[in-house]
């Protein structure tokens, strides 16, 4: 199983309520995925010469300020740090690759969840309700958000096997389904320089998209490639800096339902997760066609 939820706000006046609107959607999908949960929220964008990193550490009281000092010294720039449970969001004026290298050298036990100008990925093992509470989801602001509740099948119940998976700058993937050709594909992607942390099939889908995007494909092209190259069942939702995309496998093994009003576009594995949204009674509701890439967002 697994549950997917996504919410894109067309009406920017609702941005201060994004977390509050989204929290019941995530929790509604507990039945489809009680093992772990996570979300990627987009907002609070930094300027073009800066990057924002979401980091996690097993230690709830990890001294992030020491890392920040190290980065300030290395890159001769200010580093802002915001704590959220065992995660921290760092913002600084620097490039991704040397920052990653510095963090890896400083402490390999730090996990880089996401890098971009807007994205923050937060995820953890536990019930969706616990994860929402842990990271104070209801108070979060932003323009759009995608989330996932996991019922583990292809690999263990760990934070690393949880969704969303980062697939590049400001990009992430959530997956409902299971892939059949992930072992072979993982080997092929490893030869292309893509690194994997788990045995998880969804991480291979994420790695595939990362690889295609690195080659210069658009999100649309990368997802069309996924329909060809991934064998198995899937509904994917991909978060981008400007919105989100949805694609279902051509056989439509996994569900998805969409809702649109003047204020928002929302998607979920089941209608139940949309039922708390304002104005849902009069929303346009439909199932995305299988094998077709949909995108909502700015531009």
């Amino acid at each position: 199983m697994c549950g997917i939820v996504g919410l894109y706000l067309k009406n920017s006046a609702l941005e201060s309520q994004l977390g509050k609107l989204f929290e019941p959607m995530l929790i509604a999908m507990t039945g489809r995925g009680p093992d772990s949960a996570g979300f990627a929220i987009y907002g609070d964008e930094v300027s073009e010469d800066m990057i924002k990193l979401t980091l996690q550490h097993e230690d709830e009281h990890y001294p992030w300020h020491i890392l920040a000092e190290k980065l300030e010294e290395a890159f001769k720039t200010d580093v802002s740090v915001m704590h959220n449970a065992n995660a921290a969001v760092l913002k600084l004026k620097a490039d991704e690759t040397p920052v990653r290298a510095t963090i890896a050298e400083f402490d390999p036990s730090i996990r880089i969840m996401s890098v971009g100008r807007s994205i923050e990925i937060l995820k953890e093992v536990g019930l969706p309700e616990q994860i929402a509470e842990r990271f104070t989801l209801s108070g979060m602001k932003g323009s759009h958000i995608v989330g996932h509740t996991r019922m583990a099948t292809e690999s263990g119940v760990t934070m690393e096997g949880s969704h969303p998976f980062s697939t590049g700058m400001d990009l992430c993937l959530v997956h409902n389904g299971s892939l059949s050709n992930h072992n072979r594909l993982r080997e092929e992607l490893q030869k292309e320089g893509i690194q994997f942390e788990t045995e998880n099939d969804s991480e291979v889908a994420a790695g595939y998209l990362t690889w295609r995007l690195r080659q210069g494909a658009s999100v649309q092209e990368a997802l069309e490639g996924a329909i060809e190259d991934l064998d198995g069942f899937f509904t994917f939702t991909v978060g981008t800096k400007d919105g989100f995309a949805v694609v279902r496998d051509p056989i439509a093994c996994k569900p998805a339902v969409m809702a649109e009003t003047e204020d928002y576009v929302a998607m979920a594995s089941e209608y139940h997760a949309l039922s708390t949204l304002p104005g849902i009674e009069n929303a346009k509701l439909w199932e995305p066609d299988p094998g077709k890439v949909y995108f909502w967002g700015k531009g």
Binding site: I251, A252, P290
Partner: protein
């Protein structure tokens, strides 16, 4: 009689429906629905049940004799394995509507998604909109009437179910062929359209059925047993 799923669980409401006296035809209204699964499943007597809202999965599953109206959309497997009675979805139906159903009538005012009437065994289905891919897969008996279009692989590996489509068919499945519309078919189709409240002209439909060329239809293959 009214129930509200904001204050009662699906299990409680279903139990109350099953406990209704079997000798009287009751009218029941269920409100406060937010995509809940398994609504009004396993009915086995003539009750009229109106569901106000969008239903989740397997709504009206295994229905026998009851008339169930969904004022909204229905999720996967609406009226799956229905035996008799009538289920009317006023909105759209998701995948596998009336899967394996043995009897009764399913009417969908909107579209039905993939695998509508999969393995149908005697149910009649009237979809006023279109149906998705693989509809009536391995259909054994009963009728599937589609006033709109049909998706890929309609009627794949069909046995004796009758398929009537007014619009275009994306593609026919293995061994499914276009067939002549004879007087008895027009009569059968007219009756179903009338019962479903459609004013479409039966003569605008095309009939599809089994070409009877697959393994099970070949008498020579019986020697294998």
């Amino acid at each position: 009689m009214k129930f509200d799923l904001k204050t009662q669980t699906v299990r409680e409401v279903n139990q109350a429906l099953h406990d209704l006296p079997k000798d009287k035809q009751a009218e029941v209204e269920i409100n406060g629905i937010s995509g809940d699964h398994n609504l009004a499943v396993g009915m086995d007597h003539p009750v009229k049940i109106t569901l106000n809202g969008h239903a989740g999965y397997y709504c009206a599953g295994m229905n026998k004799e009851a008339e169930i109206i969904v004022n909204g959309n229905a999720g996967q497997g609406v009226a799956e394995n229905m035996m008799s009675g009538k289920v009317h979805v006023k909105g759209n139906a998701s995948q596998s509507a009336a899967a394996t159903a043995h009897g009764g009538l399913l009417v969908v005012d909107g579209d039905a998604a993939a695998r509508c009437g999969i393995s149908m065994k005697g149910v009649n289905i009237v979809v006023k909109g279109s149906v998705g891919h693989m509809s009536a897969f391995m259909g054994q008996s009963g009728c599937l009437v589609v006033c709109g279009d049909a998706g890929e692989a309609l009627g794949d590996s069909l046995y004796e179910a009758h398929l009537y489509v007014k619009g275009k068919v994306e593609s026919l499945g293995a061994d499914c062929i276009e067939k002549e519309m004879r007087a008895e078919h027009l009569e059968e189709l007219s009756a179903l359209l009338k019962e479903a409240g459609c004013d479409d002209n039966p003569e605008d439909f095309t009939r599809y059925g089994s070409g009877r060329q697959l393994y099970n239809f070949k008498v020579d293959n019986t020697s294998a047993y």
